[in-house]
């Protein structure tokens, strides 16, 4: 760009064309802002002409999950409750992206309030997997994964509470990264479960994820859980990190896993053995990740959703009686899965049931953290499949919520423990991509990124060749 070989506006127009071509079929976006994007691209080109310093993301087209606030754009969380809500402020991550000359193209689809694992629980549209449009994208950040996978955006932001970045990254065959809890400010991210939520990047390759991480991470006075976080150059650390890492695998990770998924993930881990040391570690408590995760999430979610009463913003119900107005607006605008979680969360935090459920689940969470701490005394990283199965057909898991919850069994652990975890395409099963997941110690996000890059280096090329031959 500096050399004048291409311009921000030119690049944006290319992306715009892709969007015009593909969006109709894929449903990645809930809101597009071509006008705003063109204005920003113009500003960047102006900077180039005037030889001003350019930001790290100069000219890159970035899509933002629609549960992250961008000032002046709708922020619906894919819910009727917020259908008419326009964010009055920028999330910290959005501010940082704009400062580094990123171009925000629009807001992407998700499961309502990020409650779901396949992006079919949006109140507005169902996103479709670009690899096979009959299949789900994974979720909840499905729209962001699709935008990057289909080339409609260079980079995207998602949020990950129990796998919401990694699951769609794996299903759509892109890179997805969930940072250490507290590394990236959540200011401007709509709550799902406050002690689990993290914002993270989607990209075509690990470098892109590292670059976006470099921009969005760091301490923010407006999110006190980021206190003490240092700014780090993840792109530089990608190459500087120790070449040989100790990578652990647990047999529990493969229990209940589809055979084909198990096969390709084990193959890639074996390949990693050429460069890194692979060790077996026992992680028996990780089997309980789903109940531990969901009970905690229900409790926090029920609290977070209290604010949506239809009185201040979003949907509004004209009723003379205040109690009826609040009840009606919540009843009519929230989806089934959201209501299910609010009710269960309320139930398990009520005086009579708190000790039997919520208090216990907090203890279980502690036990699991300890188990992972111990494992990380022996290994730098843990490797696992991302999901136990391949992307399912749209509508397939709609009836039984427990089946849907179980899809999160391998991704929720990282959020329970607050550790960093990233997903990179390992191989294809047929034409469907499968992502391998790495988890690392708290604050050692760069090691996770380095392992992901290893996969790209070791397997990436053959895989692409193989895929190209097949298709």
């Amino acid at each position: 760009m500096r050399k004048g070989e291409c311009s921000a506006s030119g690049h944006l127009e290319e992306k715009t064309k892709v969007i015009e071509q593909k969006e109709g079929q894929l449903n990645a976006f809930l809101h597009l802002d071509f006008e705003g994007a063109r204005k920003k691209a113009g500003e960047i080109d102006e900077k180039i002409r005037k030889k001003k310093k350019l930001g790290k993301l100069a000219g890159l087209v970035i899509a933002i999950k629609d549960n992250i606030c961008v000032e002046g754009m709708p922020c619906t969380a894919a819910s009727k409750m917020l259908e008419n809500y326009v964010a009055p402020y920028n999330a910290t991550v959005v501010e940082k992206i704009l400062q580094e000359d990123g171009i925000i193209i629009g807001k992407t689809n998700l499961d309502e309030f990020a409650c779901g694992s396949d992006c079919t629980k949006s109140a507005f549209k169902i996103s479709r997997n670009p690899v096979d449009t009959e299949r789900v994208t994974g979720g909840s950040s499905g729209g962001s994964a699709v935008a990057v996978a289909s080339g409609m955006a260079d980079l995207a932001l998602g949020s990950d509470t129990g796998g919401s970045i990694r699951c769609p990254a794996s299903f759509c065959g892109v890179v997805g990264f969930k940072p250490t809890y507290g590394l990236v400010s959540r200011y401007g991210l709509l709550d799902l479960a406050m002690s689990f939520d993290q914002i993270g990047p989607f990209s075509k390759d690990t470098y892109g994820a590292a670059l976006l991480m470099e921009v969005i991470s760091g301490e923010d006075p407006r999110d006190s859980v980021t206190k003490g976080t240092k700014d780090r150059d993840y792109t530089r650390l990608l190459d500087k990190t120790k070449k040989k890492l100790k990578i652990g695998i647990a047999k529990e990770f493969f229990e209940g896993c589809d055979k084909e998924v198990e096969k390709v993930v084990k193959e890639i881990i074996e390949k990693l053995g050429e460069r890194h040391e692979i060790l077996e570690v026992p992680l028996p408590i990780s089997r309980y990740s789903v109940p531990i995760y969901f009970l905690n999430v229900f409790a926090e979610f029920s609290s977070a959703m209290q604010k949506y009463d239809g009185l201040k913003y979003g949907a509004f119900w004209e009723e003379l009686n205040l109690v009826d107005a609040v009840s009606e607006v919540r009843d009519r605008t929230l989806g089934k899965e959201v209501k299910r979680r609010i009710l269960l969360g309320t139930y398990i935090t009520m005086k009579e049931f708190k000790d039997a459920w919520y208090t216990k689940t907090l203890k279980a969470r502690d036990l699991m953290r300890k188990e992972f701490d111990n494992a990380f005394k022996k290994v730098d990283l843990l490797a696992s499949p991302t999901n136990p199965s391949l992307p399912w057909k749209i509508g397939e898991k709609n009836e039984d919520p427990v089946q849907m919850y179980l899809a999160d069994t391998l991704t929720t652990t990282a959020n329970i423990c607050g550790i960093p975890a990233g997903v990179v395409k390992a191989a294809f099963c047929g034409k469907l991509p499968v992502g391998v997941q790495f988890m690392g110690r708290i604050g050692e996000d760069e090691k996770v990124l380095a392992a992901m890059k290893s996969v790209e280096e070791l397997a990436g090329r053959d895989m692409d060749d193989e895929h190209n031959n097949r298709s």
């Binding site: 549960n67 992250i68 606030c69 922020c75 969380a77 917020l82 809500y85 964010a87 009055p88 402020y89 999330a91 959540r186 200011y187 401007g188 991210l189 709509l190 709550d191 479960a193 406050m194 002690s195 006075p221 407006r222 999110d223 006190s224 859980v225 206190k227 409790a299 926090e300 029920s302 609290s303 209290q306 604010k307 009463d309 009185l311 201040k312 913003y313 979003g314 205040l322 109690v323 609040v326 309320t346 935090t349 009520m350 005086k351 708190k354 919520y358």
Partner: protein, 458 residues
């Protein structure tokens, strides 16, 4: 047995520059246009997060706790919890409230159970259905007593002392509505009733007196007292049952994942302790000891720090007991009547000393001093510029008293004779006549002095 038992919960707004969880200013929130001192955090916009607990608020709460003789919790982090309930003034529909930051204090013979830090909700106007979030997020301390208060009067005394402490520490807001009180009242072991919505110190006596009387009447008539929450109706001076459902509210408390726990080190406590000035009770004791003023005078004078400091300056120039009596009785009354404090009354120590010196030298009576004080306050003129001053004090210079004495001596010869025979009463009669003649402007002692001189001479 009909013993009254009362426990109080006070919510007092803290004086801080910013709100508890964001940087919105707090100053002038009452006068500001509704919803102008707000941000995404204190209106709980989707995606907003609390900034972490305002350090200044923690400091202020610790200071208050220490002044109440509480032990501050330093041994473990103090969790900030969410208390869930739906109400339009509460933008998140939960209120953030800390676990106790201090425990086990004592004031006015009442044990303080614990002190919490929490956020104030907005203001919901039931009539218009509108909410003003300017107040939302202003820090509050909640002070909870044990049920040690034995009568409404005792409650009033406790609150007077509490208010005095708050005044000395200067860390709490003092404007109307900055303090709200809930009271638990039970009599003779019967069911306990919670009275809410007492929004002033003054209201407490009315509310509690009414509630205690209501309960006593029920007991006398063998009617069972229902355990309930009642609202204080300030206009009527009564309490009203809310007829809530039987089930107790379940606030589903749990630690707020967005707010790191508050930690208070021993070092910080020591540091804050050093900033605490001599408190009203100690000061009152010292005044009794050092200035031999009465306990009642000392108590009243020490209720406000600037007033007590003013007294001390004045007491170095004027007989302390005279100064105390005047300041407690006359000055306080006249200031309160005008809703003024010493600092904004236009008066200062020097002006009061000037006035009291006249009393001390017997040139004017305390009654006259009050008259002059009223004029000083109302006309905002220096003492010597007041026409009345000239008239009252000037009376001596111009020989007006002497003149009047001569006149009276001539007119009432019988009384003069009686006095000379040894009848003291006759002298009083003569003084009275001179006073009448000088229209009460001359000091009786001065008249007495002149009369004696003349009578001896004659």
């Amino acid at each position: 047995m009909m013993n009254t038992i009362i426990g109080l919960e006070q919510h007092v707004q803290l004086k801080t520059n910013a709100k508890l969880f964001c940087e919105c200013p707090t100053e002038g929130y009452l006068e500001a246009e509704p919803n102008t001192l707000v941000c995404p955090v204190c209106v709980s916009h989707p995606g907003s997060k609390p900034y972490g607990v305002n350090e200044e608020a923690v400091r202020n709460a610790v200071k208050i706790s220490l002044a109440l003789g509480c032990k501050v919790v330093t041994e473990k982090p103090i969790l900030v919890q969410r208390k869930h309930y739906f109400y339009p003034d509460l933008p998140s529909n939960y209120q953030r409230t800390s676990k106790p930051i201090a425990k086990d204090g004592m004031l006015s013979g009442v044990r303080i159970r614990e002190v919490h830090l929490e956020e104030d909700p907005g203001r919901y106007d039931l009539r218009t259905g509108k909410v003003d979030y300017n107040r939302s997020g202003i820090p509050l301390v909640e002070i909870i007593t044990e049920p040690d208060i034995k009568s409404p009067e005792h409650a009033r005394k406790f609150l007077d002392e509490l208010q005095a402490i708050m005044n000395y520490l200067n860390v709490a807001r003092e404007e109307a509505g900055s303090t709200r009180i809930d009271a638990n009242v039970s009599i003779g072991g019967h069911n306990r009733v919670e009275v809410k919505n007492i929004n002033s110190f003054k209201g407490v006596l009315t509310a509690l007196t009414y509630e205690a009387m209501r309960q006593k009447n029920l007991i006398k008539n063998n009617i069972e007292i229902i355990q309930e929450t009642r609202h204080f109706d300030e206009g009527q001076g009564t309490t009203i049952g809310l007829r809530l459902k039987e089930t107790a509210a379940d606030y589903r408390y749990f630690p707020d994942p967005d707010v790191p726990p508050i930690t208070i080190s021993e070092k910080k406590v020591k540091e804050i302790k050093k900033e605490i000035p001599e408190l009203p009770a100690e000061k009152a004791k010292r005044f009794v000891r050092d200035y031999t003023v009465s306990e009642t005078d000392a108590f009243v004078i020490t209720q406000e720090k600037e007033f007590a400091d003013g007294f001390e300056k004045i007491a170095h120039k004027i007989q302390p007991r005279l100064a105390a009596r005047f300041m407690r009785g006359v000055l306080k009354k006249q200031l309160n009547y005008r809703g003024l404090k010493l600092s904004n009354s236009g008066l200062n120590e020097k002006k009061i000393i000037e006035l009291l010196e006249l009393v001390e030298k017997k040139r004017i009576t305390p009654k006259v001093a009050e008259k002059l004080l009223v004029l000083m306050l109302d006309e905002q003129k220096p003492l010597k510029k007041l026409p009345l001053y000239e008239e009252l004090v000037g009376i001596e210079k111009e020989g007006i008293v002497e003149e009047a004495v001569e006149k009276v001596l001539k007119e009432y010869e019988k009384a003069v004779k009686d006095f000379k025979k040894g009848e003291e009463k006759a002298l009083h009669f003569l003084i009275g006549k001179v006073m009448h003649l000088t229209k009460g402007k001359a000091h009786p002692e001065i008249i007495h002095k002149h009369l004696k001189k003349r009578l001896k001479a004659g």
